[in-house]
Symmetry: none
Subunit: 203 residues, 4 copies
């Protein structure tokens, strides 16, 4: 009825070395931080990690997949979701957290290039959604639930719509760069989304 929770242990052959895996991810992170995804090559990673290229290809199907894993490793800390007491407060905290994170170089640059890489590789795009987008959104879902519980917004309000309204404008300035992505903008967006949701427009 379901996939095995604990994958069956492979029976034969030399097991993959954890040391090798860590060396590859570390080298990747370094290179990404130094010069960005565009300048990161599999050969470069292999050399820096003191590893054969085959050991990389054995584990990751593409440069993007490797970069994604390495970036995810750094990101895992995640961001908090503390209750500020109001919908607008929660949205503002979320927007400010994200804004400050992506303005942090070089992580911000890598994220930007990773999103770019994802645009022309459907397999990678799937991983991106699973590993980055979905977790962050689920983490923020309680914000809407708390607002409903508080009676700030109607019961049927769509959390997905609200999340897109909040994150969308931030990503937009981040990737297009037509106007600055700063704290002030983050606060404005949060204010507008809170207002719209309170009006019941998200139902």
């Amino acid at each position: 009825m379901s996939a095995p929770a604990i994958p069956v242990q492979k029976r034969t052959g030399r097991p993959r070395s954890e040391r090798t895996e860590k060396a590859i991810l570390a080298a990747t992170s370094q290179l990404l931080a130094e010069s960005g995804l565009a300048a990161m090559t599999i050969e470069g990673v292999a050399e820096r990690a003191g590893v054969g290229k085959a050991s990389i290809y054995r584990r990751w199907p593409s440069r993007g997949a490797l970069a994604l894993d390495a970036t995810f490793d750094e990101y895992l800390a995640g961001q908090p979701t503390e209750d500020t007491g109001s919908l607008q407060g929660d949205l503002e905290a979320t927007a400010l957290d994200w804004t400050r994170a992506v303005n942090r170089s070089p992580w911000g640059r890598t994220l930007r290039e990773l999103i770019a890489e994802v645009q022309s590789d459907p397999i990678l795009a799937g991983a991106w959604k699973e590993r980055f987008v979905r977790p962050i959104r689920q983490q923020r879902r309680p914000i809407v639930e708390r607002a409903i519980a508080r009676g700030e917004i109607p019961k049927g309000s769509d959390p997905e719509l609200i999340m897109d309204l909040l994150y969308g404008p931030l990503y937009h300035r981040y990737l297009n760069g037509h106007l600055p992505l700063d704290d002030s903008f983050a606060r404005s967006v949060a204010r507008m989304v809170a207002a719209a949701a309170s009006d019941g427009a998200a139902v």
Copy 2:
């Protein structure tokens, strides 16, 4: 014996051929439509156009710049800005136009990859903002002005903020692909932005 009174435009050398330019752009468009930006190479364009690589480099500094020009050539038709009589109506028309345009393959794919390309090339990013982002936004500016004139929203409402609130969520689903970008979503976004602006949250 005497210098010309009005300095004549330098006339030495063979002038650049218009035929060459058109052949390059046509070949680029074809290749983009066939296999996307990721698979488009300068060598491929040169061969398809029956042109030397140098003739391309003489005109465009990079693959992205060429692709941008070729795509812009196709895009010039633009979208209308007719007055629907209400802010929400105007926003909805705008959102639906954009949504339907990017859902059109292969143009949608090329745009997506172009945005990707822009992420790691600052020069190209500048061109992108000038040529695509700014014109579209200026074209839509009257929407806010009309809404103020109608008294739907306060005088000090920020058109840039409203534009970001509208386009941001659309781009977000377009590039991240976590949820479908369809007419229904476009209408929901327009409704929410109109609601927020009416509340005076965009001041």
Copy 3:
């Protein structure tokens, strides 16, 4: 593999650089002399010559073809065919020349490895025959003709058979190494071939 006798005039494009060609052949010769054919790689040649790999592949289809050309360039001096006054004298001079040439390291090693390389590459084998084997044999043909003119051997004697009888045993010891290939052996072979030919056994 080599320049055509009558080079077809290429109409367009940048012509191949003579400098590049010479640098490649020089680097190849050096590497062959230093460590032999088995250790010579296309990458190594490219690096030593300060040349892109593509420039090598543009000119030679395989490592063996390149090595053959480089070795031929060194060999071109050739060996004399002076008339010693008798068949046995001429054969002996020929055998001694060849013996001493192949005992000369590193040229002898390269020749040995080149013959080896030829065994599993039919295209290369053709070039080998044309460029090395046939010229040498034709150069030695007058030996038999002079012997006939002198009346030492019958008119119908087969020069090819006599050449094989002379060179065969020398190559045999050279490649098999079961017994030393020295001047004494060269003289013995020459003596026997002369004796057999005088008996009219080569008719």
Copy 4:
């Protein structure tokens, strides 16, 4: 390369499996017959034999050594040395035997590539001489002894010289391919060698 004459008694551990050894040799022979030595790889043999690579390296030091053993296994039948009653007859029988054997594909191809392999591996060259060259020559030695006994050639005639005179030209055409190696050539060589030896030129 092969089992030692007096196998040192191993004290402990699992003994080497005869099945494994046979599977390796069989797979090697198959691959040699199918595509030749140049295309035969240790990995390919291991896979075909259903054997770990280490089990091959435990037994043979190199690809050439393995190929030599596998080929030798097939060759063991050897060739007869019957007395035809005359030196020329014996030489002719020998030459024809060898000629026909090497013209037999794929065995002929493998032998050719094996000789090639030997040229750049001194250790393998030693094995080659011991295992192939010497046995064959010793097998043919009685030919000369019988000729002396018959009084066809002088007592001091050098068997090694005569063997080189006979085999050399055959190997020469076999490896160089400049002219066909056929029965007619084999007979001519035998006739010439017999003539020279009768003249006492082999003393």
